[in-house]
């Protein structure tokens, strides 16, 4: 048996789908954020895998992932700051209550 690109891609896809499920179903904002991280991670993996299998000579996919990790960290930090702030003002982290800014 040979482990082809598909074998790496399918777990990544699965992780992404799990993230999608989590993001849509969970009401806790931190849980949503965790789902988001899962999705992001799945996508990162795709970059790396494609890079490795299709263009082994170059490193763009790796760099992309590198930057994505950095930005994900920043984004998480801001998101958590917002969540914490929201918790302070509303007393919970339930996303369904947050619709003041609709329309």
């Amino acid at each position: 048996m040979e482990i082809t690109a598909l074998y790496y891609l399918l777990p990544a896809l699965f992780m992404f789908c799990a993230g999608v499920y989590g993001f849509i179903t969970r009401k806790n904002m931190i849980a949503m954020l965790i789902s988001l991280e899962l999705m992001l991670n799945g996508v990162d993996m795709n970059f790396v895998i494609f890079n490795r299998f299709l263009f082994p000579g170059s490193m763009e996919g790796m760099y992309f992932t590198l930057f994505a990790i950095g930005i994900a960290a920043a984004e998480t930090a801001v998101a958590i700051a917002i969540i914490v702030n929201l918790f302070r003002s509303k007393g919970n982290v339930d996303v369904t209550g947050l619709n003041e800014m609709k329309f």
Partner: protein, 170 residues
């Protein structure tokens, strides 16, 4: 043909990813969810190692597993009491989520499986050298990544300031 060891290794890592990611989004204890996320991230790092990107794997562990998950844990501790469960999911929202996830899986999976290029084996590649990575990252030549690097640094700075401003108690 791969060695049996690497196949086993792959199977473990892949299973970890699948199981832990599912658990991460289904468990009702939020702290557990963060823990499963940590496992998933580690497994991802393992994949990176298996694909010969050691530096990336290192970054993954250091930043993601080490940094972000810790942030999560702090945030969870700040926003919930221990033993406090998330609310039960309604069947409707579960159904929506499942539809979305399965549809994504089908569409993406189908499009992945229909590509024969993805059936190729692992080509040969020497491990990217740290020096090379660093030079490329800070080079302004063609293919150099100085500009995005700087942009990201500015972004990070902005995020730090933003996080401080937002998180500050008024």
């Amino acid at each position: 043909m791969e060695s049996v060891g690497s196949i086993i290794m792959y199977a473990v890592v892949a299973l970890t990813i699948v199981i832990c990611s599912v658990l991460a989004v289904t468990t009702r204890k939020i702290l557990r969810s963060a823990t499963y996320l940590l496992f998933t991230l580690f497994a991802t790092a393992a994949i990176y190692f298996m694909l010969d990107y050691e530096f990336l794997g290192g970054v993954q562990i250091a930043v993601y597993a080490g940094g972000i998950v810790v942030l999560f844990v702090f945030a969870i501790l700040l926003t919930s009491r221990p033993g406090h469960d998330s609310e039960k999911l309604t069947s409707r929202s579960r159904r929506t989520g499942l539809v979305a996830a399965v549809a994504t899986a089908i569409v993406c999976g189908w499009s992945l499986c229909s590509r024969s290029a993805l059936m190729a084996g692992l080509p040969q590649m020497s491990n990217p050298d740290m020096k090379l990575i660093g030079a490329r990252l800070l080079s302004s030549d063609a293919g150099g990544l100085l500009l995005p690097f700087e942009a990201v640094s500015v972004l990070l700075l902005a995020c730090i300031i933003g996080a401080v401003v937002i998180g500050r108690r008024r």
